[in-house]
Structures are given as structure tokens and as C-alpha cells.
Symmetry: C2
Subunit: 817 residues, 2 copies
């Protein structure tokens, strides 16, 4: 093999042959565990899967090739991917043997892009597909429908979408196979997630760091992930990095990640079957031994978990060359392998010969059913990977045991009179959830649980840590090999874990600094799409909602500055399906409790809850809070003086800091312009603002007008970027009277008041805004008040600038009425 590229590139590798995916198997594990008969059967089963994969890509008719293949049998548009199918199916089938031999509880995660044919063909072969979709029966008619639906309008896609039995990982966006797999095996002590990782996928950041998940896996209480890195060699149009580093580097990398890597490399099927059989078996035995040792000794050490590197040709078992170009073992095998079958009779013949080379007539009965001697290779019942109940986790889900959150409420004798830290109050209740749900609830976060004032939960469950310990970790480290809080400084990884944990039937919560949640925008998008699709898949039982608690919010980034100011995650979430997404902005601790209780009980949603972690004014006692949160938006009578009449002005807010400032503005106006009738409205459930036809929580026009009126100016102080409120209310009568203030990318190292002034969300600016919109009501009476407010604002800002602190009058403000 010529290893010297053009223009002076040269190889580091001393043994280029070691990078070839072709040839007789080369493997770490030795031995030939398969008898000739077993090998033959497994090979034929593999052929059956490959035949089905090609059928899915090409055929709309003639599924068993009973007649010569004609253009009419081919789908009009050829869509789908062949590249990683063989390697994935090969791995799947070999694991079936071990599931039967060792009575394993296992499921399959398909990480490589577009590998759905591999898993779907196996689900069909083991009978699950037909059980789930009776019209895709195991006969000729069923097979024809099974082929036609693939990548066909109204049919199924080329990832392991929610329609795929046995899937909890769609894989449209790459990078999350490992974190999803670990998420599913935490607290599932006998479960193995056989996880194929694409070598394209492996280049992504989220995947690259997720290998470290093994430092959070407890061999006593958790199951195991068996990763199979599929060195398929190519992405869409490029070689993959990990297939093109030296063998030494590749091995070192996985030792570095804390695994024991096993290699299985080559293309020759008989030897590859033996190598894979031996390797998977050694890995399974190793996992079982690790479990046994840990469980018998009670010592949760971190072992070197096994992992496999499978180097096989991309498009394995395709023709090596077509039209003078490599197909098998090259990037040209990525998508549809033969692209001209509709126009080139020779290619059509080539396809037919290729499909016939698998000998379908020897694999399936005349009626199209897999022959019994092959069918019996698959496990039965729930032992079939595509039937593992964990992959339809809603079925297994038990409701959380929740103590009454009312018992943890803060006493609020007077509205807005005392400061308290909402997070700490919530944390006390959260601690009981951790304590009472020790095998199906975890808290996830990127090193911020303590900083987010939720550290109380460590009383009930410490942070999981299977890295090395130093003696002084005992001093408040809250680390233990078995725990309930999962922290790694990778938003991607903790989100992936949580998704896997939820989809396998458990409950959880992610807590994060608000500004950095954008890091996982795309993951949350994909999870929302998964849930949305699940509504269309009848057999999918609802799972617990994805609860994302955002704190350390934009308005209190006192020493982090501009980079830490971004409340725009809400805009990303609001674009997702209204069936799925919910946004809550509880203004105080009791509302936070009420909202979180609702979220923990809910199903199939993405709940985003925004609440700051600092000391804040407390507004509602618990019964008022529950009533208010149940309505989602309402008038705060105690802060209003319109007494049921038409107000002159509606002052509104959503968010804790925003509510305080809006209330303070209301107080200023009421103090200095007592003749004004002001109605105070607070919004907890943001989607209440939308018209009822647009979101299930949306208010009717009448409801909306009963809060905001349809003809009075509204000053709305909003937590996030102001346009989100406008986009939700643009259809409302009176929308032109809605004046929203929120964050507008104006920040610096600021005191809270300074930042608010910069963005016009402080009490003075809000009151001035109100006066400016009440000119007709106030006439000249407003001018002197306006001037006074302007002056106070200026003086407050200079005070902060000079002293580094906000004025006492601002810091110590309470609701004065």
C-alpha cells in the first residue's frame, strides 16, 4: 500500500497495513469460539440482514427477487445509506449469540449516521418489527411494505427514529451515542448497552469527551456500556481521523480514556466472524467479572471497562469497484451505493447479482419468512434487543415519590417584604426527592449544583465520582462512588446522560447557568423532536419530562460580565412543537416549588424553568403561589389599585428580578402619582401569552383582555430578550400598546441596578416609560415626577460606578403598601 501522499505528506505509521480495513481478521482476542455450523448460520443470518438493507434502499416490489429485477421494482427516488449498515448489523448479530448464551439484558445504540437499515433489518428478523407493526409482517407482502416504507414519503427515515423498536437514540445529529448509553445504564445494574460509535461521530466534541462517562459508572449499582468504535474509515467525503492515526496512537487514546481496547480488524468474513465472536465474548465475560467482583466485595472501584475497535470496510460486502472507482471500503459507499440503477441496465443487473449473492432463496421461505434454523439464532421475547422494555422506558416508569411541596414553603406574611433565596428553599424539598427515589431520580449539572445553591441535596445523595481520590476530598467534597448527583464540566455529556436516563424510564433534572445552556441548544432541539415524533408512535409510552432549571441568570452576573449574559435559550425552545415545550418563570420560592412539582409530575415535555439563585423578594404565600401558578398568569391584586375597574396602566412582569423591578416601578408611580389606576400582572407560564389556538396553554382573547385589557398601555418587564413577548402577542388586540423591556445585549461588569438601567429594565426606567405612555392621562402632572425619577436613576448609577455597590435604597427595597 502506497502511503505517501502528494506534496510531501508522509506517514507516521511504521506499519501502514495495520490501517487497512481489508484482509483476514486481526484481533486482540484470539480463539475460534464458533463451530463451523454456527459460523455458517451466523454468516447467513448476516446475509439476511444485508439483503434486507439493500431491499430497503432500493425495492418497492419483488421483495424476494422471485422474478428478474426490473426498473419497475425500484423506488423512483433512491434515498438512504449503505455505508455503516454491515458493520453495525455484524455487531448486533454477534451479540445475539451472547445474549442467549449468558442470558443478558441488553439493547443496542446505533451511533453512526444513517445506520437505520442495520437495526431495522435486525428488528424485522427477530420478529419485533412485525409485532409492533402488524402490516410489516414476516411474509412477502409484509416485506414488500417493509422495503417500500423506508426513506419513502410518509414512511420512516434513515436514522433510528422513534418509530424504530429498540431505539432510544435517533442519531440524526451525531455525537450522543455514548452519553445516551451511559444514561440508560445508570441504576440499571444488569443492563448492557451495546453501543456502536461512528468514527465520524467520534470526531464531534460531545462524543470525544463522553468517553469519560466511565468515571461516573459504578460497577455495583449501574450496568455497563460496551462501546464498539466502528472504524468505517470514511465520512461523507473524507477519511475519518481515528481511522488515520497510527495504531499505537489509537490504542493509547483508549487506554487514556480508561478503557481496555480490543481490536477486530479486517474484511474476510469467516475470520472476522470468529474474531468478533471471541472478542465480544471476552468483553461480556470481563463485564460480568467486573460486576461480580465489585458486588461481592462491595468495593466500587473503577475498572478498565472493555471497548472494541471494529475496523471494517465502509460499505462492507458491496462490490469493491464500480465504474472504475472503489465502492466498498471508500466514501463512495456512504449513501446509495449504486446510484444509476434506474437509468443504467448494467447497474441494475449489478444490483440484482449483488442481492442474489446473499442467496435470499436459502434465507427466507417461499412466503418470505426467515427460515427457522436462522430465526432461532435470535433471542426470544424481551431478550431481543429491539424488544428490550428499557427502550420504551415509559412502560417501566414509576411516578416519583414526592412529598407535599407545601410543607417546604416559605412563610410569606406580607407580599414583597422579605428576601429569601428561592433555590435554597427549593433545595430542601429536592433533597427529599433524592432521598425517596434512590434508584430512579438523579440530578445532572456541569459543576454548578453547589454554586446554584442546590448543595443541600448532597445530604441525600453525594456526587458520583469514580475518579481517583485525594485525602482532603473529605472536606466538603461530597464525592462518593455511589451518589445521586452527576457533575462533569460538559453540558453535552450531562444532558446526554439525562436524556438516556429519562428515555429508559426514569426521572431527573438538569441545572445549569442560564448563559451556557445555549451549548446544548441543538441537543434539546433534537430531544424535543424525538418527543414530538413519539406522539405519532402509538406503542411509545410517555416518559418523564426533560426538566431544565436555569439559574445564575442574566440579571445577576455581577462579576462575570457580558459573556455570561444570554437569556435567549427561551427563543430556541419556543420554536419547538407547542405539544412539547413549556417555559416557566416563577417569580419567587413558593412559585418555584409549585412549578417544579408540576414539572416532576409531567410527561413528554421539555420544561424550562428560569429562576435566579440570589436572595430575592418573596411575594406569595404558598396557597396564593399554587393558585397563581395553576392559572399561569394573573393579576396581583395586592399590588394593584385599579380595584376591578379599567386601569390606566397595566404593569406586567415575567421573571424574578424583572418582577421586583416592575413592582418597584409600580410603587414609585403609586407613591408619586396616586391618582393613577395601575393593574399589576405577573406571568409564570410564558406560553399563556400565546393565542389559545397556537399553544395548548394559550389564553383566549377574552382571558387575555381580562388581564392586559385591549386598550390600555402595558409596560411589560421581561426576563429575556423583549422580542419573545412581542412574537407571542403580535396577534393580540392592543398589541401596539404593549411596551416590553428586557435584555438587549447591553452589558458589562455591572451592579444589578446598573445592568438594569443599561437595558431599561430598572424601576426608574419602567416608571418613566409608563409616564411617557400616559401623557394623555397625566397631562403635565407626569413631567415633574419623570424628572425626579430620571434624576434618581442618574444618581443611583453614579453611586454604583463610584462605590462598586448599588445604593442602599435599591438593595433594601420592599413593597411599601
Amino acid at each position: 500500500m502506497d502511503a505517501i501522499p502528494a506534496k510531501g505528506g508522509e506517514s507516521l505509521s511504521k506499519d501502514m497495513e495495520s490501517l487497512s480495513p481489508f484482509g483476514t481478521a486481526r484481533s486482540t482476542a484470539q480463539g475460534k469460539p464458533l463451530s463451523n455450523d454456527e459460523l455458517d448460520k451466523i454468516n447467513r443470518y448476516f446475509h439476511a440482514s444485508m439483503y434486507l438493507c439493500l431491499g430497503m434502499l432500493y425495492l418497492k416490489n419483488n421483495p424476494l427477487l422471485e422474478e428478474p429485477l426490473k426498473k419497475d421494482h425500484i423506488k423512483a427516488r433512491l434515498l438512504g445509506h449503505w455505508g455503516s449498515d454491515a458493520g453495525q448489523s455484524f455487531t448486533y448479530i454477534h451479540f445475539n449469540r451472547l445474549i442467549k448464551k449468558y442470558d443478558l439484558d441488553a439493547f443496542f445504540v446505533s451511533g453512526p449516521g444513517h445506520g437505520a437499515p442495520a437495526v431495522i433489518s435486525n428488528s424485522y428478523l427477530e420478529g419485533v418489527y412485525s409485532e409492533v407493526y402488524p402490516n410489516m409482517s414476516q411474509d412477502k407482502e409484509g416485506m414488500q411494505r417493509f422495503f417500500k416504507q423506508f426513506s419513502f414519503p410518509g414512511g420512516i427515515g434513515s436514522h433510528a427514529t422513534p418509530e424504530t423498536p429498540g431505539s432510544i437514540h435517533e442519531g440524526g445529529e451525531l455525537g450522543y451515542s455514548i452519553s445516551h448509553a451511559y444514561g440508560a445504564v445508570y441504576d440499571n445494574p444488569n443492563l448492557i448497552a451495546l453501543t456502536m460509535v461512528g468514527d465520524g461521530e467520534a470526531e464531534t466534541g460531545p462524543l470525544a469527551t463522553s468517553w469519560h462517562s466511565n468515571k461516573f459508572l459504578n460497577p455495583i449499582d449501574d450496568g455497563a456500556v460496551l462501546p464498539v468504535l466502528h472504524l468505517n474509515g470514511y465520512k461523507i467525503n473524507n477519511p475519518t481521523l481515528l481511522a488515520r492515526i497510527t495504531h499505537e496512537e489509537l490504542e493509547a487514546m483508549f487506554v487514556g480514556y480508561g478503557y481496555k481496547p480490543y481490536f477486530v480488524e479486517g474484511s474476510d468474513l469467516p475470520s472476522m466472524h470468529q474474531a468478533m465472536a471471541a472478542t465480544l465474548e471476552e468483553c461480556v465475560v470481563s463485564i460480568k467479572n467486573i460486576w461480580k467482583e465489585a458486588r461481592e466485595s462491595g468495593k466500587a472501584i473503577r475498572p478498565r471497562w472493555p471497548m472494541i475497535v471494529l475496523r471494517s470496510p465502509k460499505g462492507w460486502t458491496a462490490p469493491r469497484d464500480v465504474d472504475g472507482h472503489h465502492l466498498e471500503g471508500f466514501w463512495r459507499a456512504h449513501q446509495i451505493p449504486l446510484t444509476k440503477v434506474l437509468t443504467d441496465p448494467e447497474q441494475l443487473k449489478l444490483l440484482e447479482n449483488w442481492m442474489r449473492s446473499y442467496k435470499p432463496e436459502e434465507l427466507f421461505t417461499k412466503d418470505g419468512k426467515l427460515i427457522p434454523e436462522l430465526a432461532e439464532l435470535a433471542p426470544t421475547g424481551n431478550a431481543r434487543m429491539s424488544a428490550n422494555p428499557v427502550t420504551n422506558g415509559g412502560q417501566l416508569r414509576k411516578p416519583l415519590k414526592l412529598k407535599d411541596f407545601r410543607d417546604f414553603a416559605i412563610k410569606v406574611n406580607k407580599n414583597g417584604a422579605e428576601l429569601a433565596p428561592s433555590m435554597n428553599i427549593f433545595a430542601e424539598w429536592l433533597t427529599t426527592i433524592v432521598a425517596n427515589n434512590t434508584d430512579n431520580f438523579r440530578i445532572f449539572g456541569p459543576d454548578e449544583t453547589e454554586s446554584n445553591k442546590l448543595g443541600a441535596v448532597y445530604k441525600a445523595g453525594p456526587k458520583v465520582w469514580l475518579g481517583e481520590y485525594l485525602d482532603y476530598d473529605k472536606d466538603g467534597g461530597n464525592l462518593a462512588p455511589a451518589g445521586r448527583v452527576m457533575e462533569m464540566l460538559s453540558e453535552h455529556t450531562v444532558e446526554g446522560w439525562l436524556e438516556g436516563y429519562l428515555l429508559s424510564g426514569r426521572h431527573g433534572m438538569l441545572n445549569s447557568y442560564e448563559p451556557f445552556i445555549h451549548i446544548i441548544d441543538s441537543m434539546v432541539n433534537q430531544h424535543a423532536k424525538w418527543l414530538e415524533k413519539c406522539y405519532e408512535v402509538e406503542w411509545r409510552t410517555p416518559v418523564a419530562s426533560l426538566n431544565i432549571l436555569l439559574t445564575s441568570t442574566v440579571w445577576r452576573q455581577d462579576h462575570n460580565g457580558f459573556t455570561h449574559q444570554d437569556p435567549g435559550f427561551l427563543d430556541v425552545v419556543a420554536n419547538k412543537s407547542p405539544e412539547i415545550v413549556r417555559i416557566y418563570l416563577p417569580p419567587d420560592a413558593n412559585c418555584l416549588l409549585s412549578v417544579m412539582d408540576h414539572c416532576f409530575r409531567s410527561e413528554n415535555y421539555v420544561n424550562v424553568i428560569v429562576a435566579d439563585k440570589q436572595n430575592h423578594l418573596q411575594f406569595l404565600d404558598i396557597e396564593d403561589a399554587v393558585a397563581h401558578c395553576t392559572k399561569g398568569a394573573g393579576i396581583w391584586k395586592w399590588a394593584s389599585n385599579d380595584e376591578g375597574a379599567e386601569p390606566d396602566l397595566v404593569m406586567a412582569s415575567a421573571g424574578d428580578v424583572s418582577t421586583q423591578e416592575a413592582l418597584a416601578a409600580t410603587a414609585l408611580l403609586r407613591e408619586h402619582l396616586p391618582e393613577l389606576k395601575i393593574r399589576f400582572v405577573n406571568v409564570v407560564d410564558l406560553f399563556r401569552l400565546m393565542p389559545n389556538g397556537y399553544h395548548p396553554h394559550g389564553m383566549t382573547a377574552t382571558e387575555y383582555a381580562s388581564l392586559f385589557t385591549d386598550n390600555r398601555p402595558v409596560v411589560f418587564n421581561f426576563h429575556s430578550y423583549p422580542w419573545l413577548v412581542h412574537r407571542m402577542t403580535y396577534k393580540r388586540v392592543g398589541q401596539h400598546l404593549m411596551h416590553v423591556r428586557g435584555y438587549k445585549e447591553k452589558g458589562n461588569i455591572d451592579t444589578p441596578l446598573e445592568l438594569a438601567i443599561r437595558n431599561g429594565t430598572d424601576r426608574y426606567s419602567l416608571a418613566i416609560l409608563a409616564i411617557d405612555n400616559l401623557k394623555d392621562t397625566l397631562g403635565n402632572k407626569g413631567s415633574s415626577v419623570r424628572e425626579m425619577l430620571l434624576d434618581t436613576r442618574t444618581r443611583s448609577a453614579s453611586y454604583a460606578f463610584e462605590t462598586g455597590e448599588d445604593p442602599k435604597a435599591f438593595v433594601d427595597w420592599k413593597w411599601p403598601f
Copy 2:
């Protein structure tokens, strides 16, 4: 050291001492290159830096401790971080020696969170800070101001913000130090980026995969990155993963990543100084040798680049214990190390003693200037890392050499009559840009350049690849050790490279599938914030804009389905500062050329350009395209029949597929309801929709009304989620007549027409929508047309469902007038 944690956790490590950050230096490189005098001076220089760091955290007065420290001298609010300052400054200072000795061209990248005091103190010590900010002079008054401004309202933050001389990497959001550093050294053959990587940061996905950037670094044409992984040991409240795996694993990991790791571990200053001096020197010599060998031989092999693991205590040189808890070497040293100095006189005294232990009186003159024998340790002029011109890249930027894009235009004889692939046309011009700007323009993308139909550029510059080669890579692989296209399947890494490349004074473009650009939402947010801040920093010269070309768009995900449908990146971008962000939706090839020409000439923007890669109708000849794009939005007279009069209806569009459908709807209406006066408006520059006070591109009310009227229904077919148009136009007169259609999370495996129908963005639905909003104009005349359209829509959808293809009448549609 007791390595056994509670509850059965046990260590994998045979040598726990190796994980301790304390003690005499342990290092890979041996030797004592420093004379006693040199060591003493370097140590004092280091002390000066540490003194300044503490001053920044605490003091607003008494900067030289001329009088006993009093509460009055302390800032009222203590903000800032101590944790990583010492390790970073230590590394910085030791590199100064080598810059002088070897005449190096180098700059510093500060990856760990909140390490600004380290770099700012060094910038101050080497005089750059005072040159850039004359009021922060090198004297007592300057030092007092220098201290006070830090983490103080109106001052500077605790990251290496744009205000920091020598910084191109702010680091507020963690994970991008390595990719930024590599971006800066590509095409800078003599530049070394000394890059500190935080061990917290190292846990992020983006950082974990960015180590692989070395497979894209050409030792002939590019400079070098010298990464220093700072095993500081702790994050905010947790140990770091990489500090708690075995030494063997850590070493293997970096061998796996393709580096030669050098370890420097310990806390004892004299031996650590010698170890760091020896190690950095060995690394520098190694880099110079690699360069020399490659450049003399002309062979661009991938060497094992050196990297350093610096294990030192978090908060190094702080008191080890305070109040019965470890401070130095523990997470308690993360932020302000002594938190009670304002309330506890003993802590105040402790701080004073600590500061005095650095002996400021021996480091600074009475007037507050660093004494000459220490000052001369720093390099001079632009050799000072904080003065390296590359870190104010705008200064170095040369405009791109651009051929006239008009010469690459497609001939459009009749509007909307022919299909052509816009990307391929653009690619021909792009190829000349690559060819004519061989040292300051690169194209970046995650394995999609070919798929995005931009592969023509390989004629001018292949893909950079310093991984291993196989012989058949020659068959269309387009790979070479020296090239102009940078592809790795990590959106994070390629975006990070591009940012580094731009900030160091060059030009570039990212191309990506539209759906997966959300992966880098947060990176683009941070870059936009960086640029926004730069406007306030006078000495920052504008850099080339960040150009993001999104293709493979939502409307043509024919075989990728739901996961690949997300046009919401525009919402994220639209939240950023209007000074920075621009969004363009060119409807055809000639508009794309015109828009890209503008973007490549622009400065300091984030330009997002959305255009699909399939064959699409071509609407405008090049002169019309230029005129249209210059206006940003305009009436297409050839598609309108209102002839300057008041129209009955405005049909509007933004985006290529959306424009085709809106035009087809217009044609249907004109054919079947010829009495209707329809005005067709197309929007290229999305921010034109906003009011002029809200965005520099915003239209005045008069301009807006001259296009959209203020009293006629508007049917707006939009590329992305419809609410973005509403949020931009909610203030416009007549906004209640604006009916926007766009993507609404309704997708599946769909033909283009099916997907459009599902979302109401197809020609039939748009025409029906128009009729429904023209009831008063049309009376009953519209009903039969409506019925016909509904019927056509239904039949088209069933046709697609049955055949897998859209009807010919849809696929072959041309503008009929």
C-alpha cells in the same frame, strides 16, 4: 496520602503520590537551565505578578501597601478569581525567557476560566497595558487605578476580554482555547501560540476533540501551538477528571491525541522554576527542529508536537490552610481566596501578610514602577506577548483580492425560467478567491463542502490532511498536507479555527448544513459579544467578518427528515447586537454572488447567509441582482401586476425555496383571478424589516409602506420559523395584515412539496391564504378558485405519497408570464 474514599471507592493508581500537586518538582525534561541569579529574578518577577493579581482582587487604594492595610483600602464588593492565576502567570513568565533567547514570535491564550489577572498583570509588568491605557501608568496612581478597575462596575472582567492587550480568546465560555490557538497559527509559519488549557475546560466536548487539530497543522506553512494543560486540580466545586485519572492514563491520552507530553508537577518554587524552564526550552527547541526539518526537506509530515502537563496546586502560593480548611490546592481557592477581609480583621491581616510576603517594596520602586533588573526580563516591543500584532489582527489584515463576481454570474434571460444550482455557480467564483489569496483565506466546514456543492474549490486548494494516507485517497480524495479547505466533523472545532483565523487578521468562511449550525449557537453568541465589545475598545482594529453560509436547508431535507429540519439559527443570531449581526437570504445564484461579495468585504460582522444547494429557479440577471441586494428588499415588477398603483395584495418572500413557492402562488392567482392586483416583494437582507431605529439596516416607516403598504394584506412566505418576521415587524403599521408562513416543526420523510404543504408554505396553500384574506375584494369569485387549489393540493400530496415523487407540474414549474 489516603487514597481510599468512603463507601468502597478505591484507586486504580498504584502511585497516588503522582497525583499530588505538591512537593518538589517532578518533570519529564531534566536539567537546571537557570543560574541562581536568573532563578531569583524570575521568581521575583513571578512574585510581582502574584502581587498584582491580589491587588486586582482586593485593593482600591494603598496599592503599594505603603501603610498598613485597612478595610478602607479594600473594594466594597469582592469579585474575581484567584484559582488559576499563579499557574498561568508562571508559564507566561517562563516563556518570556525563551522569547528573548530564541527571538520567538509568540502570544498567549488563556483557556482556564477567569484567569485574567494572570495575563493582565503580565501585560502591565511588560509595559503594554500602560501604553494602551495611559491612565493605567506604571506608577503608584496608575497601579491604584489598575487595581480598582478590575471586576469593578464600568471596569474590566475576569476573563481575557477584548480590553485585554494580547488576547484573542476571552474564555468566558470554556472549551475553545485550543481551536482558537490553532486558527491563529495556520498560515503564520513562525508563530507560536502558548496555550493554557484549563483542566475544567478540558472536560468540555469542544476542547476534548480540538486536540486533534494537530492533524491539520502543516509544519511547513503553519506555526505551532504549544498547549499547556493546567492540572489545577479543581473546578468550582469538584476535582477535575484529568487530575484524577492515573498518570499512565493521562500520558496515554496525549500520546493518543498525537502529542509528546511533558510533565511538570509540584509546588516547590525553586525546583518548579528549573523544571518549567527546562521543559519549555525543550519544547521550543523541538518545535524549531520540526519546522526546520520539514522546511528543509519540503516534507510535511505530522510530527509528535510537544505539549505540557503542568500539575500545580489550585491557588498556588496562597496560604495552605485558612479557618481549618485547605485553601491552596483546593477548590476553595477558585474565586476570592479570603472572603471575610471586610468583616474579619484577622483575615485582613492574613491578606496583608500574604501580599507582603511577595515583598512589593523589593519589586517596585517607591513610585510603583517595576525595578529595572526585573523589567528587563520581559521581551521588548512587539515581542512582548501582550503586544503581538497578531492579537490585534485587524492591523495585519489585507483586503481579499476579489475578482469581479459579475464575471461569474449566470445569464438570466427570462425571470424564473431556468433551474440552476446556486452553490455550484458561487463555487466557481469562490475558487478564484481561494486561488488568489493563498495565505490569508481558508474555507472551513464539517465534512460537507463537497455535499454542499462547493467542491470546485479543491481545484484551487485541496483539503488539509496530515493524518495517514491510503493509496486510494488519490481517487477524488482532494486531500493534501497543504491545502485551503479545513474539514473535521466537529462544528465546534472548525468554528473555533475560523474565529482564531479571523481574529489574527485573515479571512474565511464556514459552510454547514443549516440544521446542525445550532451546535455552535453558543460559540457564535460569544464571538458576536466579542465583536460588540471591540467597538468600545479604541485600539482594536476591525477584523474580517465571520461569514456563515448555511445550506442543505430545511425545505430540501428529502431523505434526512425531521432531525434535519431546523432553520432557527436565525433567531439566535437576531438576538445579538444590531451593530454586529446581518442575515441574508439570497433567492438565487446571482443574488448569492452579490451578497457574498459584500460579506467578504465587510468588517466586524457576523454574516449569516442562507441558500440551498439544489437546483433552483434563477430569477434575476446580475445587474438586477446587484441592485436588488443593494436595496436589500424590493418589489419585483416583473412578477407584479399592480403597476405602481395600490395593490390588492402583497405577496412577499425571503429565501430561495420560499420565493419560488410565493411566485408560483402569485402566478396561480394571476392566472385564475386576473383582476387581482398583486405586488411581489422579495427580502434578501432580513434586517430591512426592522424599524430603522432598531437596526442599522432597518427601513423607515415610509420605505416599509412603499413596499408592503399599510393597509393591504401581505402573504409572506418565509424560509425560517414564521415568528421571526412577526417579531421584526410587530411595530409596523398594518402588521395585523401580515400573514407569515414558515416552518413550524411539521416534518417527516417528505418530498419538497409534501413538506411545504404540511407547513402551509406551498403555492396552493399560499394562494388559498391570499384568497381567504381578500374576501372583501373577491366576494364569491374566489370560492371556486379556492376549491380548485385545494383539490390540486390534495391530489399533489397523494401523488407524492404514492409514487415517492412530486408531480411533474410542480417539479417543472417556471414563471409563466
